[in-house]
């Protein structure tokens, strides 16, 4: 059942359209992550849900009630800000209890709630300190605690981990995932970090230029992007894209000619009519090195060793560089001539308007 329903939401600043008709249904208890490049509208969307920005059109419903015109103080949402936004003139305990005191909750209950939250977030020794005496990670935990203590209907997170160092970020990411499991509350999370998106989300919402590009589970987005934008945005290193010179249907195969070689692709994996032009997409892990009979040949430009794996940047005949995931023990040297095999079952095809025109192999088989 939908819990937070966003319909046709618009946001204009003078002539600039930050949100262009957003439609989204969020279920109760879901962990939803908004990702997208900077300026895509993800923060604006979150702030509009929070009521910190007024909408220019469309509606937001929460738990069956239209909250579009409700003041943010009355929406029963809690938000964790990028800068944490702790009240610098209050102690940690006062920061945690501020909302409850405003709501005139009885003292005993406030104390009980603050105690349980501070225990679960290991804030007990910090309760009497002011925010400026805390480290970044501690501030972050107070900010989260301040949100939890209110038991809101939805948690909103605005890039909460971006001010932390790498190690702490990983740790807090885990804590957030654990928290979500424990509380089961709906969470809406904005980030530009796709690893956060992939690891935390039940469903990821990819935004681009004020519109939703695609919504899906992390794996769906990775394997079944529906546009070149999503395909390139998700996955590190990026998906390789190679333009196809020409193509033709031969029986039940689509043959693709590119880079002096020819690949065949099952025609039943093609959705819709034949396009005018095709770009082939293939992720680095779906390319492999072979001794001979490869689909392409190229010269190694650079090898990045990451310890658990290595990425080889290979220059092809048309001067395009593609990235290939190699084993950690790869002995590739710069300048080596290599043969590359494409796992054609993982190939994704895009048409001239950057939409995906192929379906993944399993689904094609099921038809």
């Amino acid at each position: 059942m939908s819990y937070l329903v966003i319909s046709e939401l618009q946001k204009h600043y003078d002539s600039y359209h930050a949100l262009r008709g957003i439609n989204l249904n969020i279920k109760e208890g879901e962990f939803i992550v908004f990702v997208g490049p900077s300026g895509c509208g993800k923060s604006t969307l979150l702030r509009t849900i929070a009521g910190l920005e007024s909408s220019s059109g469309g509606t937001i419903e929460l738990d069956g009630k239209d909250i579009t015109e409700v003041a943010s103080s009355k929406r029963d949402l809690a938000m964790v800000f990028q800068s944490y936004a702790l009240y610098p003139h209050m102690t940690v305990a006062d920061n945690l209890s501020f909302a409850l005191r405003l709501a005139k909750v009885p003292d005993a209950e406030i104390q009980e709630k603050v105690r349980s939250v501070s225990a679960s977030l290991q804030l007990d020794p910090l309760l009497d300190r002011k925010p400026k005496e805390l480290s970044g990670g501690q501030r972050q935990r107070v900010a989260i605690g301040r949100a939890i203590v209110r038991q809101p209907k939805v948690f909103l997170f605005d890039e909460p981990l971006s001010n932390l160092d790498a190690a702490l970020r990983v740790q807090m990411r885990l804590e957030l995932a654990r928290l979500h499991k424990k509380l089961g509350t709906t969470m809406v999370y904005v980030t530009h970090d796709q690893i956060e998106a992939m690891t935390l989300a039940d469903r990821v919402v990819i935004l681009n230029a004020g519109q939703i590009e695609q919504v899906g589970t992390p794996l769906e987005l990775y394997r079944q992007p529906n546009s070149r934008f999503v395909a390139e945005f998700i996955g590190t290193p990026k998906m390789n894209l190679i333009p196809v010179d020409n193509f033709a249907v031969q029986g039940d195969q689509l043959s693709l000619n590119l880079l002096d070689s020819s690949l065949s692709f099952p025609a039943n994996r093609l959705a819709g009519p034949l396009p005018k032009a095709i770009v082939m997409g293939i992720r680095p892990e779906h390319l492999s090195l072979v001794e001979e009979n490869g689909d392409f040949t190229g010269r190694v430009e650079l090898v990045e060793h990451l310890g658990s794996e290595a990425y080889a940047h290979i220059q092809l005949g048309n001067n395009q560089t593609i990235i290939l995931k190699a084993s950690a023990r790869s002995t590739l040297q710069d300048g080596d001539l290599v043969h590359i095999k494409v796992d054609s079952s993982e190939v994704i095809l895009f048409n001239e308007s950057d939409r995906v025109i192929s379906v993944i192999a399993e689904e094609a088989g099921n038809d």
């Binding site: 943010s72 103080s73 809690a78 938000m79 009240y87 405003l102 209110r150």
Partner: protein, 276 residues
């Protein structure tokens, strides 16, 4: 010389030079203070006498002659009174301009500042006549009204720049926590801008205390603050330097001590939104 020694020498030279300039600039005040403890004869001796037996006679004369305490009281009441009133009027205006700016906010702010550009002499006569007709001449109330209006634009401007610099996310957090607009002001904005409001008030108090034009022209004996009292020493007593110095010392001492005390606050406060 090692790098460390070079640095130390540089710091030493900078320090000595700064001390020299500071002492030079402070000298007139120091001299006024010293002279107030001299006899009239010592005060005008050439070469100037540095070592003498200090006397408090001058201060007694000043109090007897011009009722120092009355004028000091006038100064305190008018500067603090007008500053408090101006702050009460200015805080809501600055708050609304900083947090809910409209298209015309900048114009309104600049217009307010431009009223400060109206030279007092340009409106002295009408104000004098208005005051005379309404019985405000030589009254503390009258002076408070003038001081309030006089400093209002600068006070609004300073407060505006403080409010503008408050981290917006903290206010949004308060809003999300369920604070009403009023609660947001009382529980978050004001506590966070105590420093800014204090230094704004300080500047206003200093400007009022030292205001001379209106004090000289609108007050006589009853409501005259210390600036006006001192002016009365300018010609006839001009030759009695020790008494003049005593009166001056008495007039400036409260605000100097006050200023020294709040110096840190002032140094941190006078940004006028000019510091990023």
């Amino acid at each position: 010389m090692t790098l460390n020694q070079q640095r130390k020498l540089k710091t030493l030279i900078t320090g000595l030079f700064a001390w020299l300039v500071a002492l030079l600039l402070f000298f007139p005040i120091f001299w006024m203070f010293i002279t107030s403890f001299k006899t009239e004869l010592q005060a005008i001796s050439v070469p100037p006498s540095l070592f003498f037996e200090p006397t408090l006679d001058n201060f007694k004369v000043v109090q007897d002659r011009s009722d120092y305490l009355l004028h000091a009281m006038n100064s305190v009441i008018t500067s603090f009174g007008s500053t408090i009133i101006a702050l009460i009027i200015a805080v809501p205006a600055a708050y609304s301009m900083a947090f809910f700016p409209g298209k015309r906010t900048k114009d309104i702010l600049l217009w307010m500042l431009s009223t400060k550009m109206l030279p007092a002499v340009g409106v002295l006569v009408p104000i004098y006549i208005l005051f005379r007709n309404n019985g405000l001449l030589d009254s503390r109330i009258g002076l408070i009204i003038i001081f309030t209006l006089m400093n209002l634009p600068i006070i609004i401007w300073m407060l505006f720049s403080y409010f503008k610099d408050l981290p917006k996310e903290i206010l949004e957090a308060a809003r999300m926590d369920g604070a009403s607009p009023w609660g947001e002001v009382v529980k978050v904005v004001l506590p966070l801008s105590v420093g800014g409001i204090a230094s704004t008030g300080l500047l206003s108090i200093i400007l009022c205390w030292n205001e001379a034009f209106w004090s000289l022209n609108l007050t006589a004996s009853n409501a005259a603050p210390l600036t006006a009292m001192i002016a009365s020493y300018s010609s006839p007593e001009g030759l009695f330097w020790a008494k003049l110095s005593a009166a001056s010392t008495l007039a400036c001492a409260p605000i100097i001590v006050f200023g020294w005390f709040c110096q840190k606050q002032l140094v941190q406060g006078l940004t006028f939104g000019a510091v990023k």
